[in-house]
Amino acid sequence: MNRYLVIFLGAVATVTFAFVVLIGLPEVQLAGVPAPAGLAPYTASQAEGRALYTSLGCYYCHSQQVRTPSFGSDSARGWGRASEPEDYVYDRPHLLGTMRTGPDLMNIGVRQPSRDWHYLHLYQPRAVAPFSVMPSFRFLFVLKDQAEMGDEIVTTPPGLVPAGKVVVAGPKARALVDYLLALKRDYDPHAVAGGAP
């Protein structure tokens, strides 16, 4: 028997089998998972914020998946109910994450609804959590002498910015916070729009 062929076909067969089991079958099982009634698709601004969250690599430190109470302290920490496949129907790319250097953010919009808090935290995490190792994202903000019409001013504690300057949230910071506030999975994941009331 030709050993070249054995290795070649054997390699193709094993990886194909794994593909069918690990990806094919779940795709079939999850196909047509309906969008929950309580979950809205991302708005343009939220989607832009989500793209920024992805490109800045927030997901290397933050997960977006809440485990069941039997598996961890997630719910006890106030991170929300256990996540279901339905919660992710609009998510591309998925941002489930593998690290919790920072807290899970699946429900950060529920836990922390204040725009102002988020702005300050993104501008300087150590201004709200002195122990934090989260990077500062100050490049998403503009330092101005004076705020202009329509600017969102960030309330900063004394000493954080030079006297006479104000911190204004740039368009990217606004989009990012729009996204963070949209992270609210407090609906019933199985209640489908148009389904039983």
Binding site: A18, P85, H94, S132
Partner: protein
Amino acid sequence: MTTVPLLYEDSPPPQVAAGERIEADRSTRRPVLLFFHSAVVWLLVGSALGLVASLKFQFPDWLAGQALWTFGRVRTAHLNAVAYGWASMALVGVAVWMIPRLVRAPLHRPAAAMAAAVGWNLFLVLGIGAVLAGWTDGLEWLEIPFPIDAIVAVAGGLMAYSVLMTVARRRTKHFYVSVWYALAAMVWFPIIFVTANLPVWGGVGQAAVNWWYGHNALGLWITALSLATAYYLIPKVLGRPIRSYWLSLVGFWALAFFYSMNGIHHLIGGPVPTWLITVSITASVMMVIPVAATAVNFHTTMLGRFGTLRHSPTLAFVVAGAMIYTAVSLQGSAEALRTVNRVTHFTHFTVGHAHLGVYGFASMILFGAFYFIVPRLVNWEWPKPALIRWHFWLALSGIAVYFVSLTLGGWLEGARMLDAAVPFGDVVTATKPYLVARSVGGALMLAAHLVFAYHYWLMVRRRGPERAEPAWSEARAAA
């Protein structure tokens, strides 16, 4: 230098074998050097980026003025540079060098292999540039954007063409085990890479694809090629055949079958069907079979010859790598168990494990391969044996500090995280001293690489005295 061609089951007479080896080496010299030069540069770039990312935990406001240098991007540039730059290019270089020798045929179309190396570098420069600039596919291990991936698909195709055609023109009847691993890896990698990059996945299903790919990039690509290298070098340096043909057969097929199903253990506790996770956990535990088969084979081949470690830098690195392979694989199987994973998932423990695999196992074997192969490429001996020793001990102590600190710190992090009474801030604070130690480990590794790269540079420029004998044993005689 005379070596007995112990590796072939159907060996030709010694003079024929020597002639064929010269012919094989001549055909691979230029592409292999190009792969190796590139790999060394990517190693330096990648480890410097890794150290910057690690230092950001001590100095979170350092280099925070621009998106380019933010943690999420530097960390990603690091991963891509070391995984696809250093490890992949070095491993492909070794495979290109090894296969013609093992199948007794010169490399088919070396120009295609050269073009592959150029394309691979182009992919990395553009891809890592894109990630730093903020253009990413947003999936771990698959960040480099889809259009740029096309470049590596073409480069990989050229590579596979050159290698597979070489094997097709073999003069041996049988294949040595290194050839199985290398061939299979060259079949596996294109399949998983193209499948995972198809723009059709989304939601939870995409997470499954992501980790099916991510774990296979380690298992079916980096691990397979690293094992091919170790299987070649250990018997070669010792001058005795590998202990058991049968065990290597078991090891190979069990790895092919079980490793390919491991990936979803990265989603334990996550929102995917439970049966799916159970399949991956089972496969992860079954990995004990190929790992034990390979370990027994390597270690019994070494038995009674551990003294050789002192004379052969190649063997010192490769044996360290092989032992770490056993350790990291058993650790991986344990980590997939739900009880352990509850604690370690989402923590720095996993990061320690990943580095033990790609560095302690794969990179150590690669360093050993460089010490064996480069003298044969440039027809020169390593000019400064002391630097090899520095490299070895800096690398080994670096990964030891790195691994031990993140393993302890990660476990502590996980245990505290499970206790809802511990505020999150205390979890973060508890990890800090361990993250300082991690930076120390990373700095040691970077130092090791600077020594290695400097020595490599001297070597390819053929600096230092002309030697009749390998550098290491001579150094010992002088001492």
